[in-house]
C-alpha cells in the first residue's frame, strides 16, 4: 500500500479541475446573472416575474439535488450527452447566475437613479446609458460580493465529487480508499481548500484596492 505522500501529485492535479469548475461556473453565472439583474432593475413587470422565478428556484433547491436532477434526469431526457464535468459547470453556472443576479441588482440599484438620468440628458439612449455609466460603477461596487461568490463556488465545487468529477475531493477520497488512511488526505484537502479560499479572496481584494473608484463605497 502506497503512502499518502506518493499520492500528493495526484491530489494536487485536482486543483486544475476544481478551478475549471469554479471558473466555468463563475463565468456562466456572470453571463446569466448580469443580464438578469439589468432586466430586474430596468425591465417591466413582464421581465421581472420569470427572472424572479428563476432566482427563487435556483436558490431554493440544494446543489446536490440539482446536480443529480440534471445529470440523471434532464440532460439524458433532452438528448444531450453531457459528461460530469460539463454538467457540473452548467449547474454551478445556472445556480451562480441566480446569486450573482442579486449581487448585481443590489449594485445597480445603489448607483443612484440620477446617474442614468444624467446620461440620458446627454442624449444617450437608455441602453447606452446603462452600458457606459451605470454598469462601470455597478460592476466595481459588485466586486466584494463577487469575491464572496468565488469563495462559495469554490467550496460548492467539492460537492461535484458526487458526479465523479476528478476535482480535489474526489481524488482525496480515492487516496483515502487506496491507502486506508483517512486522516492525512482529508486534512491536506482541507488545507488546500482553506488556502485557495483565503488566498484567492486576498488576491482579489488586493486587485480591488488597485481599481477601486475613490469615494465610491464598496463594502468588504
Amino acid at each position: 500500500m502506497a503512502t499518502v505522500w506518493e499520492y500528493l501529485p495526484y491530489m494536487f492535479q485536482g486543483v486544475v479541475w476544481t478551478f475549471g469548475l469554479v471558473g466555468g461556473g463563475l463565468a456562466l453565472g456572470f453571463m446569466i446573472g448580469l443580464p438578469m439583474a439589468i432586466g430586474q432593475v430596468y425591465g417591466g413587470k413582464q421581465a421581472r416575474a420569470p427572472i424572479y422565478g428563476y432566482v427563487w428556484f435556483f436558490r431554493s433547491v440544494p446543489l446536490l439535488v440539482l446536480l443529480f436532477l440534471f445529470y440523471w434526469g434532464i440532460f439524458p431526457a433532452s438528448g444531450s450527452k453531457l459528461d460530469p464535468v460539463a454538467t457540473s459547470i452548467v449547474v454551478l453556472g445556472l445556480r451562480s447566475g441566480a446569486y450573482q443576479s442579486q449581487i448585481f441588482r443590489g449594485s445597480i440599484e445603489s448607483v443612484g437613479e440620477g446617474q442614468l438620468t444624467a446620461a440620458r440628458t446627454l442624449g444617450m439612449s437608455k441602453l447606452r446609458g446603462i452600458y457606459h455609466v451605470v454598469l462601470p460603477q455597478a460592476l466595481r461596487i459588485s466586486i466584494p460580493g463577487w469575491v464572496n461568490e468565488y469563495a462559495i463556488i469554490l467550496k460548492d465545487s467539492a460537492i461535484c465529487f458526487a458526479l465523479g468529477v476528478l476535482e480535489i475531493l474526489t481524488r482525496t477520497r480515492y487516496v483515502v480508499m487506496a491507502t486506508m488512511e483517512p486522516l492525512l488526505p482529508y486534512f491536506i484537502a482541507g488545507a488546500v481548500f482553506i488556502a485557495l479560499t483565503y488566498g484567492g479572496t486576498e488576491l482579489m481584494n488586493v486587485i480591488y484596492e488597485r481599481i477601486k473608484i475613490p469615494g465610491l463605497i464598496g463594502k468588504m
Partner: protein, 219 residues
C-alpha cells in the same frame, strides 16, 4: 405496489430525518454563533484568538470536507460519531461560524453611547451585553442569520455522504433502483423548495414583528 407507493413514504421518512437534523442544528448553531461573536468582541486575547481561529477554519473548509473529517478522519484519533451526530455537529460548526460573522458585525455596529449609558446606570459589563447590546445586535443580525439558516436547510442534503438516510440519500437510493430520475429528484426538489420558501416567508414575518422604529434591520 406502484413506484410512488414505495418512494413517497420513504421520502417522507427521509424528510423527517432532515427535520430532526435541522431541529438540532439550527438552535445550537445560533447559540454557538452568539458565543463566538461575544468571545471575539469581548473576550481576552486567548479567547478571542481561539474564536477567530474556529470561525476562520470552518468558513474556509467546505461543509462537505468538514463532514468527512468528522466522520472518517476523527475515528483515527479515537473520536467516534454516529452518522446522524457527525452530520449535526458539522452543520453546527459550519453554520455557526458563518452566522457568528453577522452577529459580530452587528455587535460592533452598536453605538458606543449605548454602552456608556448602560455602564452609567451601574450595569456590569455582563448585564450591559445581555440587556442592551445583544438584543439590538440580534435584531440587526437577523437577516444574515435567517439567510444562513435557509442555506443550512438546503445543505442538509450533504449528510448523505456520512450515511444519514435523509431526503437526498433516499432519492439517490431510489434513483439507482428505478432510474426515474426526473420524477425522483423533482419530488425532492419540491420538498426542499417548500421548506426553503416557508422558512423565508416565516422569517420575513418575524422580522416585521421585531421591527423597532429607529433600529433598522440593516440589509
Amino acid at each position: 405496489m406502484s413506484f410512488w407507493d414505495t418512494f413517497l413514504p420513504s421520502l417522507l421518512q427521509g424528510w423527517l430525518i432532515t427535520l430532526a437534523m435541522l431541529a438540532l442544528a439550527i438552535p445550537i448553531s445560533v447559540t454557538l454563533a452568539i458565543s463566538l461573536a461575544i468571545g471575539r468582541v469581548y473576550g481576552k486575547r486567548p479567547v478571542s484568538l481561539l474564536a477567530a481561529g474556529f470561525v476562520g477554519l470552518f468558513r474556509g473548509l467546505p461543509l462537505i470536507v468538514t463532514l468527512l473529517i468528522i466522520f472518517f478522519a476523527l475515528p483515527k484519533v479515537g473520536v467516534y460519531f454516529a452518522p446522524f451526530w457527525a452530520a449535526v455537529l458539522g452543520f453546527i460548526f459550519c453554520s455557526g461560524a458563518y452566522q457568528s460573522e453577522y452577529v459580530r458585525a452587528a455587535i460592533r455596529s452598536i453605538d458606543m453611547g449605548q454602552s456608556l449609558a448602560a455602564r452609567s446606570l451601574g450595569m456590569s459589563k455582563f448585564r450591559e451585553v445581555i440587556h442592551i447590546i445583544l438584543p439590538q445586535a440580534l435584531i440587526r443580525a437577523f437577516p444574515g442569520i435567517s439567510n444562513e439558516i435557509i442555506y443550512l436547510i438546503l445543505y442538509s442534503s450533504l449528510a448523505y455522504v456520512v450515511g444519514v438516510s435523509e431526503m437526498f440519500a433516499v432519492s439517490k437510493h431510489f434513483n439507482s433502483l428505478y432510474f426515474r430520475s426526473i420524477e425522483i429528484f423533482s419530488a425532492a426538489a419540491v420538498v426542499y423548495l417548500v421548506m426553503a420558501t416557508t422558512a423565508s416567508v416565516g422569517f420575513r414575518r418575524l422580522e416585521n414583528r421585531l421591527r423597532i422604529p429607529g433600529l433598522e434591520v440593516a440589509r
